[in-house]
Amino acid sequence: MPIDTIPKLFKATCDKYGERKIAIRHKKFGIWQPYTWKYFWEQSKYFSLGLMSLGYEKGDRLTIVGDNEPEWYYAMFAAICRGGIPTGAYQDSLAEEIKFVINQSGSMFIVVEDQEQVDKMLDIREQIPQVKRIIFWDTKGLRFYDDPLLINFVDVVEMGKAYEKTHPDLFEKLIEESSPEDPVYLTYSSGTTGVPKGILHCSRSAMASSEAWDLPDPSGEKDDFFSAFPLAYGAEFIYMIPAFLKGGSTVNFPEEPETIEQNMREIGPSKGGAVPRVLENFVSFVQVKISDATFLKRLTYNSLMPIGYRVAKMKLNNQKVNPFWKAMYGIAYFFVFRPIRDWIGYTGLRVLMIGGASMAAEVFDFFVAMGIDSRMIYGMIECAPTAVHQKGDIDYETSGVPSPGCDIRISDNGEILTRGPMRMLCYYNNPEATAKLIDDQSWVHTSDAGFLTDKGHVVCIDRLADLITLKDGTGFSPSYIENKLKFSPFIRDAIITGDDKDFVGALISIDFPNLGKWAETHRIAYTTFVDLSQKKEVYSLIKKDILNINRKLPDRQRIIKFALLHKELDADDAELTRTRKLRRKEVSKRYVDMIEALYSGSREYIAEAKVKYRDGKVATITTAVQLASVEDK
């Protein structure tokens, strides 16, 4: 029997390792608790049978809401092996947002983590009438809830054990019946452009995605994965999970969301992916810590870092590193790179896959200098990865060559089109959107503007719709400049403007912790975010950063005017997605007046911002935002 589906792969791996090997580690009570493949198998199997005894059928959807914990995996595999479709909602979403996922997917069963989520579900129960059962796995505070909808995770497992007695071998038979085109996972797009769409993946597409992702460095028995991405976000499923099953690796779950960094340091995962955002934060973090460090430490860092950059350059250019530089690098590694890698939990990391957005070259360089084999990966969750950096063919300005089995074509209007086995099935219950994405020759229209280099590498410039054209016809990518800005430790977010205008402008959101520290050391008194952001000294500091960046930009793309925003951009205000991508449309709508003011020549703009708190309350704050010009003198 060929192993061509995720359920079959799951069974094969569990059979192979049984009690011999650890499949899952979860930190609990301060200790990494190991669970074998056999345990993993049994939990998933009996939970699945338990669901069936409650009336869970083939093709039914199951919504899971909770932190990354083993139960998430058990529930997910239980549903997949039954032929059902698991989907996730972000645990910090408002009840409204979760309701959307439940109703769009038509889930009849919901698996949630704890009381917090149970309360959310009970609040909206009238609006999710199709839901038959709500299953929870953390019982704290739920003892006296007597709602008939609720049921404990372990009780469902027990029901599954009883159900097996009357239905022996049912679970195994269902796994054998699974076919590669059966849907296995539903994830919702982040909604950068409107209402989220349900991306439906099948065994075939997820396994192909994972294979391409894993190709640069195949996973094996000794590999440790670390589960830190929200599981509702598709990346972990389509990249990591099939590779984890195939390699018989181990996946590690953090104790709590607050302990992710500590836990990751303890594990030191050997394989991993990251979004540029996180890596950018690491780099700013390191820079700030170094500027705070003692003289000797600063000296060590500043004198040894160039060695790292130099060797990184040689490696990227495929030059042989001669013994002298090797020795120098060894010293630098011992004193600087290893400790830094340890701090961010990257000691054991062999390959770092970076995807999800474009990233500044400086950040990429930094990680290569640390001795981490970094690769860019390109693709939308609907069809990913379209392109990957292969060994010895790394050029951080591109996203590498098309993945095996994947075709890439650039359409006449500059859009990247792609076709390959990793393509999803369809958008769930949304044929119009599917038709828009996939044409009749099964090309996926990515909506990304890009081109192919001479070496066959793919370069994604930006979202097609996001490209900005100045009045004189100069077109450019705002996120390219934004990424450059964000490399400054003092800038957290930036919005580049200039569509149909005379010049390029920028709205910048400061990095409050880093800039706060800077203000303290420079004896600048401030009270709040708003106050700090409007300080004269802060403006001149940021201006210096902009001037630096301007020097590296073509003449017409240089930033002429800028303003520092009086608030942080926030996912709760719909300015960023939950994965912290800029929602350009929302943001340019929200700040339209300020942007107009930027181009009107006035020096100040009175901002009235609505702030939405987590509990849904709305407040208004009024601030005078300074509009400054950057003059290159």
């Binding site: 301060g30 704290k140 709590e256 302990t259």
Partner: protein, 266 residues
């Protein structure tokens, strides 16, 4: 809405205060205060500043020995017993101004709450410290209990931090954890929400309800935030100038003219 769950409150008094009077020199801190705490209830003590609320708690665990009256716990007269024996009987407490060991880590502070469960003695503990013998096993068993409390109170991320370096709201939680480490039958809490913001208060209220559900059946707490008091307690005792002026369900107390007078003046 009252959120205290409807556990069975059987009319068995676990704690009985009878005619407690306490004075410091010429100042009468408490005069003839009597009330009972039933098994399974959350009882709040409220009252204006200086009404004698903390004195009541101090009399219960015999920090102060009242001049008059007696305190009964589970039918046993505990007046005049030293405080450590009271703790051993199953009454633990938290303080208004956090009394933790500032130089120890969170987990060590909680371990100190397990002191009573250690039987090894000096030499046994010494060997235990060297990873030998019975005390070593004991240490592991106690540590496990402490970890359960850490999990319960969601303080995993600060487990190894020194208490002096963690924020105020979390210290309150750690102190509560130490009180829980004693596995008490009765928990006394002195202003668990003082100085907290709304979100921290909500969390703390949630923890109190969870504790009541899963760990300690009977809780006596002093609190100033009326919203919280009315939400989570089964019964409220009101003090004013050292005298009890009301005792009843939150609704009864709210409408009592005496209470309104004490709080609003005449």
């Amino acid at each position: 809405m009252n959120m205290a769950n409807a556990t069975k409150i059987n009319n068995i008094p676990i704690l009985k205060l009878a005619d407690i009077s306490l004075s410091f020199g010429g100042v009468n801190a408490l005069s003839d205060v009597s009330f009972e705490v039933q098994k399974g209830e959350i009882l709040s003590i409220i009252g204006p500043n200086g009404a004698g609320k903390t004195c009541i708690l101090n009399c219960i665990n015999q920090f102060y020995h009242p001049q008059n009256g007696y305190v009964e716990f589970n039918g046993q007269n505990i007046s005049r017993l030293p405080s450590y024996k009271i703790a051993k009987l199953g009454i633990s407490r938290t303080f208004q101004n956090i009394e933790l060991f500032n130089g120890l880590t969170v987990q060590d502070n909680l371990m100190s709450g397990r002191h009573f469960f250690m039987t090894g003695g000096f030499w046994g503990s010494f060997l235990g410290g060297m990873y030998f013998g019975k005390s070593h096993h004991e240490e592991i068993a106690q540590r496990k209990k402490v970890e359960e409390i850490i999990d319960f109170l969601e303080i995993e991320s600060i487990r190894k931090q020194v208490v002096g370096t963690i924020p105020y709201g979390l210290r309150k939680r750690v102190e509560l954890g130490r009180a829980l480490a004693l596995e008490p039958k009765l928990l006394l809490m002195d202003e668990p929400m003082a100085g907290m913001n709304t979100e921290e208060k909500e969390d703390m209220a949630r923890f109190i309800l969870d504790i009541h559900e899963e760990r300690v059946n009977t809780i006596v707490l002093i609190e100033h935030d009326m919203g919280v008091v009315m939400d989570i307690s089964h019964r409220v005792v009101v003090l004013d100038f050292g005298r009890k002026i009301a005792d009843g369900t939150p609704d009864e107390v709210k409408s009592s003219p005496e209470v309104i007078k004490a709080y609003l003046g005449t």
